[in-house]
C-alpha cells in the first residue's frame, strides 16, 4: 500500500493487519520503549492546509516514535500561505526529498491530486480531506472498538455501530462506514434527511431518521460533530430542536447496553450533539480515542 487515501481501498485482511500492527506498537509503548527504528532516515512531512492541532500532534508524535525526521507545515505558518498553490508546495516538498506526506486539506480530493498528478514521488497519507475521507480516524476508531469489544483481535463481525449526526458534511462518516463494513460491522446512520447526502442509499449502511428506534441494540454509538452554523442554512430549525432529536443525553445513554461505547471524533459541541454527562461518563472513550490516534 503506497498511499493511504481512502478506506474504500483497504481490504479486510489489510485492515486487520494494520490493527494488529497498531496493537503491537501499543505494547511496545507500554513497555516504555518510546522509539522504534522503523522509519529511521526517512523524512515525513506534515502538510496541514486546515488547522487541526490535535491531528497534527498525533502524526508528529507517531512519526517521531518511528524515528522519522518530521517537518511540519501548517496554514497559519508562512510556508503554506495564501497564494502558494498545492502544486507549488508539492514541488517544494519533492525538492526536499520527502518520503511521505501527511496532508490535511479543506478540499475533498486534495490528497488524490498530490498522489496522482506526478508532483511528488513519495507516499501520501490522507489526514482528512474536506467532506470526503479521514481514513486514519476510521482506523483509530476501529482500533478503539476492537480493543474494547473484540479483545483486540480479528475483525468487527456482527458489531452494531450507529453513526449519528451530520453525515452530509462528514468525512469521518464516509471513512467509517466503508471501513466498518469491510470489517464486518453493521452500520446504521441516524440523521435528519437534510444532513444525508443524495446517494446515501447506495452506501453499505442502514439509514434511520430517528435516534430512538434501535438504541438498545447498539454496541457503539458515535456522535458526529454538527456545526452550529448549519441551522442558519436551514438544515435544522434550532440547536435546541437538534439536540432534542439527535443529541445523546443521559436518558438516551441509559438505554444503551451496559458494555457499549460512546464515541466522538471531536471536537465536541457539548450540549448540541452530546451531553456533558455523556461525554465525561465511564462509557465514553473519547479521550482514549485521541491517545489511540498516535498508536494507529
Amino acid at each position: 500500500m503506497k498511499h493511504l487515501l481512502n478506506t474504500n481501498d483497504i481490504g479486510r485482511d489489510e485492515a486487520v493487519l494494520i490493527l494488529d500492527t497498531a496493537s503491537e506498537m501499543a505494547n511496545l509503548t507500554d513497555r516504555s520503549v518510546k522509539k522504534l527504528p522503523a522509519l529511521r532516515g526517512r523524512t515525513v512531512v506534515n502538510l496541514f492546509f486546515e488547522d487541526s492541532t490535535r491531528t497534527r500532534i498525533s502524526f508528529e508524535a507517531a512519526a517521531k516514535r518511528l524515528s522519522a525526521d518530521v517537518i511540519s507545515f501548517s496554514a497559519k505558518g508562512s510556508s503554506v500561505s495564501k497564494g502558494e498553490t498545492l502544486k507549488d508546495t508539492a514541488l517544494t516538498l519533492e525538492a526536499m526529498g520527502a518520503d511521505a506526506v501527511v496532508i490535511r486539506h479543506s478540499a475533498s480530493g486534495a490528497p488524490y491530486r498530490l498522489a496522482t498528478s506526478g508532483w511528488i514521488e513519495g507516499s501520501v497519507i490522507n489526514a482528512g480531506d474536506g467532506g470526503h475521507q479521514h481514513p486514519t480516524q476510521a482506523l483509530l476508531d476501529a482500533y478503539t472498538m476492537r480493543r474494547h469489544l473484540r479483545a483486540n483481535t480479528g475483525d468487527l463481525s456482527g458489531l452494531k455501530v450507529m453513526l449519528v449526526g451530520d453525515v452530509l458534511h462528514s468525512r469521518v462518516a464516509r471513512s467509517n462506514v466503508a471501513l466498518l463494513h469491510t470489517l464486518g460491522a453493521e452500520v446504521t446512520l441516524v440523521s435528519p434527511p437534510t444532513l444525508l447526502p443524495v446517494g446515501v442509499e447506495q452506501w453499505p449502511a442502514r439509514v434511520a431518521y430517528s435516534l430512538d428506534e434501535d438504541l438498545e441494540a447498539q454496541d457503539v454509538v458515535m456522535m458526529l460533530r454538527v456545526q452550529r452554523e448549519r441551522m442558519n442554512e436551514a438544515y435544522f430549525p434550532s440547536a435546541r430542536e437538534y439536540s432534542r432529536r439527535y443529541g445523546l443525553d443521559s436518558e438516551r445513554m441509559a438505554r444503551l447496553p451496559k458494555d457499549s461505547l460512546v464515541m466522538h471524533p471531536g471536537p465536541m459541541n457539548r450540549g448540541l450533539e452530546i451531553g456533558d454527562m455523556v461525554a465525561d461518563s465511564d462509557r465514553s472513550v473519547i479521550v482514549e480515542q485521541v491517545a489511540n490516534g498516535v498508536t494507529v
Binding site: 474504500n8 498553490t85 498545492l86 502544486k87 486539506h105 479543506s106 478540499a107 475533498s108 480530493g109 486534495a110 488524490y112 491530486r113 496522482t116 498528478s117 480531506d129 474536506g130 467532506g131 470526503h132 475521507q133 468525512r171 464516509r174 447526502p197 443524495v198 446517494g199 446515501v200 447506495q202 452506501w203
Partner: protein, 440 residues
C-alpha cells in the same frame, strides 16, 4: 500571414460524398461552389484548381458553433480570438459564436465590434459575438441589446452564459425586448441558490467523493420557468447545454405545444459521465456538470429525435494554473472545438442514432438558423458560399491536447482514440485546413 493557401482560390474536392451520398467532384472558385460534377471529372474541367483527393470522405457544410468561449478580451493567456479560430477550423467549423463572459464583458456594441473585427483579421471562421443580456452579467440592468443588434457585429444571440438570468422579471423583459430584431435569449439554466458551491452532479458519486452536489432540478426548474415565460410573451428562447434527462423531457413537451424553444447539447454531455470525477482530476470539472449514464442516453435520444436541435461545444479554454489544482478551486470548463465532430461521430453516428445528413443538420444548418448566420449552414449546391468541411469517417485518431492551437490544453479526451477526422475545411472558398493541418 497570407500564404499561398490563403490566396489560393480554386479547389477540386474529388470523389467526396456530400452528406455521405454518392461520390462527386466539387469545384470551389471565387468563394462559392462553382460546379458539382461526375467523380473524377472536376480536375480536367478546372485545370488551375488545386485537387484535394476525397475518396471515401464525407462532405459537410462548414460547422457552426453557437457556444464558444474565446476569452479575448481579458484572458488572452487562455485563448485568443486568433487561436480559438484556429481550433475551430481544425474541428471543421466555419463559424463560431463568441460568448459574452469576457473581461470587459461583451455588454456593449464596442466590445462586440472589437471581437468581430479580431475574428475577421484572423480569417479562419466567422466570429459572431454573443451579447450579454445584463450589464456585466450581473443579472440586473439590461445591456444595450439594440445597439449590439444594430452594430456592424449584427448581434442576434444574447446570453449571460456562465451565469443564469435567474430573476424571472428580467428574463421576461429580455425575452420581450429581443423581439424587435428577432433576437434570441440563450439561457444558461442554473438556479443559483440550488447550486451554491456546487462541484459536480449530485448523486451516488458526489455522495461518495464528498464534493458538493449539483442537482438536476437546478437546471430543470429554470428551463421549465423560461419555457412558460417564452410562451407567455411569444418570444424565442434557446437553452444552452442541456444535460439532464428531465430537461429533455420538459423541452420535448414544450415543443409539442408549439412553444418557440430550441436547445443545444455539448459533445461532452453526449459522451462523458460523472464517475470520471473519482480521481478528482479537474479536467472533468465543467458547468453544467457531467451527469449519469441515464442522462447521456436521454440527451442522445433528444438530439436524435430533434428535441435538442443542435450540438454546441461550450469550448472553454483555461490556463493550466486554473486546472492544475484542487478540484474545489479549479475553473469549470473543457476544450471542445477540435474534437466536437469526432465525439458526435462516436456518440451518435457509430451508434446509428444519426446519419451524416443528421450531423450536418445538428452541427451546421440548425445552429446557423438559430444564430441567424448569413452564408452558413447552406445546402451543398452550386452557387452557395463555399463554407465546407471534409471528414474521413474511417480514420481514427488519438487526441493529443498539446497539439491543439492556443495555450490551453484542458481536453477531457486527451489520449482517447476517436473516430472520424476532419481532413479539410474551407471558409468562404479558402482552405483553412488541408490534410488535417492549418494552412497558415
Amino acid at each position: 500571414m497570407s500564404g499561398d493557401a490563403k490566396s489560393q482560390s480554386e479547389f477540386v474536392l474529388s470523389e467526396v460524398r456530400p452528406l455521405n451520398s454518392d461520390p462527386v467532384d466539387v469545384v470551389i472558385a471565387a468563394g462559392k461552389i462553382r460546379e458539382i460534377c461526375a467523380p473524377g471529372t472536376g480536375a480536367a474541367r478546372n485545370p488551375i484548381a488545386q485537387v484535394i483527393p476525397g475518396a471515401g470522405q464525407v462532405l459537410l457544410p462548414g460547422l457552426v458553433d453557437l457556444h464558444t468561449h474565446l476569452r479575448e478580451p481579458g484572458r488572452e493567456d487562455a485563448e485568443t480570438v486568433h487561436t480559438g479560430s484556429q481550433a475551430a477550423a481544425l474541428g471543421g467549423f466555419t463559424a463560431v459564436h463568441a460568448m459574452a463572459n469576457t473581461d470587459p464583458v461583451m455588454d456593449t456594441a464596442g466590445v462586440a465590434i472589437q471581437v468581430w473585427r479580431l475574428g475577421r483579421e484572423a480569417g479562419y471562421v466567422d466570429v459572431r459575438p454573443v451579447g450579454a443580456v445584463t450589464v456585466g452579467l450581473e443579472g440586473q440592468r439590461m445591456a444595450e441589446l439594440g445597439a449590439m443588434a444594430d452594430s456592424a457585429a449584427r448581434v442576434r444571440v444574447f446570453s449571460d452564459d456562465g451565469k443564469c438570468v435567474s430573476d424571472p422579471v428580467r428574463m421576461r423583459r429580455a425575452l420581450e425586448y429581443v423581439k424587435v430584431f428577432d433576437g434570441v435569449i440563450a439561457q444558461h439554466a442554473q438556479e443559483p441558490r440550488l447550486t451554491e458551491g456546487a462541484q459536480m452532479n449530485e448523486g451516488v458519486i458526489s455522495a461518495r467523493l464528498g464534493l458538493k452536489g449539483w442537482p438536476s432540478v437546478a437546471e430543470e426548474a429554470i428551463i421549465a420557468r423560461d419555457i412558460l415565460l417564452a410562451e407567455l410573451v411569444d418570444s424565442r428562447l434557446h437553452i444552452c447545454h442541456v444535460s439532464t434527462a428531465g430537461s429533455v423531457d420538459i423541452i420535448r413537451r414544450a415543443k409539442q405545444r408549439g412553444i418557440k424553444v430550441t436547445a443545444e447539447v455539448t459533445p461532452h454531455h453526449l459522451l462523458l459521465t460523472d464517475d470520471l470525477a473519482v480521481g478528482y482530476d479537474p479536467v472533468y470539472k465543467v458547468n453544467p456538470p457531467l451527469r449519469t449514464a441515464a442522462d447521456v442516453v436521454a440527451v442522445r435520444e433528444g438530439l436524435a429525435d430533434g428535441t435538442i436541435d443542435i450540438v454546441a461545444t461550450d469550448h472553454a479554454p483555461h490556463a493550466s494554473e486554473d486546472k492544475d489544482c484542487e478540484w474545489d478551486y479549479a475553473a469549470f470548463g473543457m476544450l471542445g472545438l477540435p474534437t466536437a465532430l469526432s465525439v458526435v461521430a462516436q456518440s451518435m453516428v457509430t451508434t446509428q442514432a444519426l446519419d451524416w445528413a443528421g450531423v450536418a443538420d445538428r452541427l451546421s444548418t440548425s445552429p446557423a438558423r438559430i444564430g441567424q448566420v448569413q452564408d452558413q449552414g447552406q445546402p451543398l449546391a452550386v452557387g452557395e458560399p463555399a463554407n465546407l468541411a471534409v471528414v474521413d469517417p474511417d480514420q481514427t485518431w488519438v487526441v493529443n491536447a498539446a497539439d491543439f492551437p492556443g495555450p490551453s490544453h484542458n481536453s477531457p479526451y486527451n489520449g482517447m482514440k476517436l473516430p472520424a477526422k476532419v481532413t479539410a475545411t474551407f471558409f468562404r472558398g479558402r482552405a483553412t485546413v488541408i490534410d488535417g493541418e492549418l494552412q497558415w
